[in-house]
């Protein structure tokens, strides 16, 4: 029960992270490992190569809990992560995808 309330409360404070990363096998493992290790829930992941193909963009939908700042710092430390930008949950990238998950 408490779990449900927590998730509902947290649902209003979701955050979208936009990562630009080097495009090679293994980058996803590095990033997902950081979140999994800390049991930091990732609600959604999208990853596509950028037009120049040496880089990819990763979109993460996460909850904004008190550990998020530390989480972002750990992601920024990764050698293959070029930049991290925070967006609000209203960002269109996951909203538009919702149609595919009904």
């Amino acid at each position: 029960m408490s779990m449900v309330i927590e998730r509902e409360a947290a649902a209003v404070t979701k955050v979208v992270l936009e990562l630009e990363v080097a495009n090679h096998a293994g980058v996803m493992s590095h990033i997902c490992g950081l979140f999994a290790r800390r049991a930091f829930n990732v609600e959604g992941i999208l990853c596509m190569p950028l037009p120049d193909a040496t880089r990819s963009r990763i979109w993460l939908l996460v909850f904004d809990d008190e550990r998020l700042e530390q989480m972002v710092k750990q992601v920024e430390k990764l050698e293959d992560v070029i930049s991290v930008v925070r967006h609000g949950a209203e960002h269109a990238v996951f909203e538009r995808l919702e149609a595919f998950f009904r």
């Binding site: 293994g26 990764l78 050698e79």
Partner: protein, 554 residues
């Protein structure tokens, strides 16, 4: 145009990087590289007896030199054996490049003989890692590995190279430039000014130094800062030696096994200036109750350390040398007589008790007797356990890189191979490895390496025939019920040492143990110095795990 195999290319890039000694063990998947290594005139290969030993030898070299050093292992069990030494380097921020062989590319993912996912396995243990799928990439990857290992907060980097990539021919015009560390981050002068104001305004400041001060080569600057600002100075386990222990401003090591007065001084502080330390739980105890009256200034080159455990009033992401250099002109000269008098009073009332210090067959007495027989040029390595804490408490450390210990990971088995590495990097120094009987058995095979390399390493074995710190915790916190901590049989370490070809002396039977010890330490070459220690001797004081630092026992 140059043409060579991937294996030879790795070798040439290591040579160009200034690598003179590598440690490891060959095996099927790394044999092309070893074949190339055999033709090198400049690189000395030290054959470890277990890959973990090879990894710690590289760490020992790096901890003494401050530069990234190299260890080698084959695929599969070679790589899995190496893992502990890599994890240890990560937690203590030691620069290291591990090169592992891998099964040929077409066999990856087929459960081939001696195949493990070394890349996947080492993601969480390394600062960064690579799986090289084309030998041409080595031109970029090898310098990158060194750059990453030594830039910012140092750490281990692993490069996994499939056997066929080692054999692949590469053609190229020029070697890549030799790797250098990244430029240091810009110093935030506004934050520096605020920090200086806080230091100047504080009444009871304490300087809290960590291993980052040593990595940055800033020990003398940190001491100057303390002297200028009149700052009592505590050191973490990793920072021992940054300020000489007999310096009037030194208040010794803080934390779980720090002296009572050290933790009491921190309790009184109104400002904590944390430099290159990371508020580790063994240092600060229960985080919420650490330095309850203090504002915090935190300096670290790793921005992720700022506000991680304790929220700092001022967090400065920067290199310790640059930050302290910028701080010094702004910090007022202060005598702080009332505060230093209060510190001196606490020190007098709650000093570290070192009973039986004159007896070289007691735990503190043995540490003291070793120190008495050596000068500050010696390197002191330890294993992990009671002996480690006794040495940390009682050995008079007076210079950075004098002290090599496994702080973050707490790896038993660290001592002997790390001491070997230290002796490889600094053959002119005497290297002492304080160890316990539990720890020594975890990498005892490296006695063979030690004998073969004829290095000036003295193993000082405190033998209580038990896993002493486990026995201590069970005695103190688990109703005096020892489980699996007392060995039922004793090992004859003197015969073992002899069997490996080492000199050995026994202080138990020596007529004049201090003289026997001093002679053994002064005689060149490897030696085991054995001394029995009472199992009922515990490390005091002790903060129970999870408790506040003021809740010390003993």
């Amino acid at each position: 145009m140059m043409q060579m195999t991937g294996a030879e290319l790795i070798l040439r890039l290591l040579e160009r990087q200034g690598i003179e000694t590598v440690c490891g063990i060959p095996g099927g998947a790394i044999l092309p590289f070893y074949d190339a290594l055999g033709q090198s005139d400049t690189i000395h290969h030290v054959l470890a007896r277990h890959e973990q030993g090879g990894g710690f030898m590289a760490q020992g070299m790096a901890r003494v030199s401050g530069k990234p050093e190299v260890c080698l292992a084959s695929s599969g069990p070679g790589a899995t054996n190496l893992v502990t030494a890599i994890a240890d380097a990560k937690l203590d921020s030691i620069p290291m490049v591990a090169i592992t062989g891998q099964v040929p590319l077409p066999m990856i993912g087929t459960d081939a003989f001696q195949e493990v996912d070394t890349y996947g396995m080492t993601i969480p243990l390394t600062k960064h890692n690579f799986l090289v799928r084309d030998a041409n990439d080595l031109l970029e990857v090898i310098p990158e590995a060194f750059r990453i290992a030594m830039s910012g907060r140092p750490g281990p980097v692993l490069v996994d190279v499939p056997k066929d990539v080692q054999c692949q021919m590469v053609s190229f015009e020029d070697y890549p430039p030799v790797a250098v560390p990244n430029a240091l981050p810009e110093v935030d002068l506004l934050a520096i000014e605020k920090a200086a104001e806080m230091i100047n305004a504080a009444e009871r400041p304490v300087l809290y130094l960590g291993g980052g001060v040593i990595h940055s080569g800033a020990s003398h600057l940190a001491v100057t800062l303390a002297e200028q600002g009149g700052l009592p100075t505590t050191m973490t386990l990793m920072a021992l030696g940054t300020m000489p222990i007999d310096h009037p401003l030194s208040i010794g090591m803080l934390g779980m096994h720090g002296a009572r007065y050290t933790n009491y001084v921190l309790e009184e502080a109104d400002l904590l200036i944390c430099v290159g330390a990371r508020f580790d739980d063994r240092a600060i105890g229960k985080a919420a109750e650490f330095c309850p009256r203090a504002k915090i200034i935190h300096v670290d080159i790793d921005p992720a350390e700022l506000h991680k455990i304790k929220t700092a009033h001022i967090g400065i992401a920067g290199d310790v040398t640059q930050v302290v250099e910028a701080l010094l002109p702004l910090v007022q000269v202060k005598l702080r007589e009332p505060w230093l008098a209060q510190v001196a009073d606490l020190k007098e009332r709650f000093p570290l008790a070192k009973p039986d210090l004159d007896n070289p067959r007691s735990h503190y007495g043995l540490v003291q007797a070793v120190a008495d027989a050596l000068d500050d040029e010696a390197v002191i390595a330890t294993d992990v356990g009671q002996h480690q804490m006794w040495v940390a408490q009682a050995y008079p450390f007076r210079r950075p890189r004098q002290w090599l210990t496994s702080g973050g990971l707490g790896t038993m088995g660290f001592g002997l191979p790390t001491a070997i590495g230290a002796a490889l990097a600094a053959p002119e120094r005497t290297v002492v490895c304080f160890t316990g009987d539990g720890s020594l058995k975890m990498n005892i095979q490296e006695m063979a390496t030690l004998a073969e390399e004829e290095l000036n390493v003295k193993i000082v074995l405190m033998n209580n025939n038990s896993l002493g710190l486990v026995y201590q915790q069970q005695s103190m916190f688990y109703g005096k019920r020892p489980v699996a901590s007392k060995y039922k049989r004793a090992v004859n370490f003197l015969k073992i040492a002899e069997g490996f070809g080492l000199d050995a002396v026994d202080l138990d039977t020596a007529e004049n143990p201090a003289a026997t010890l001093a002679e053994a330490l002064q005689r060149p070459g490897p030696c085991l110095i054995h001394c029995s220690i009472d199992r009922e001797e515990f490390v005091y004081p002790m903060v129970p795990p999870g408790a506040a630092n003021t809740e010390m026992i003993g």
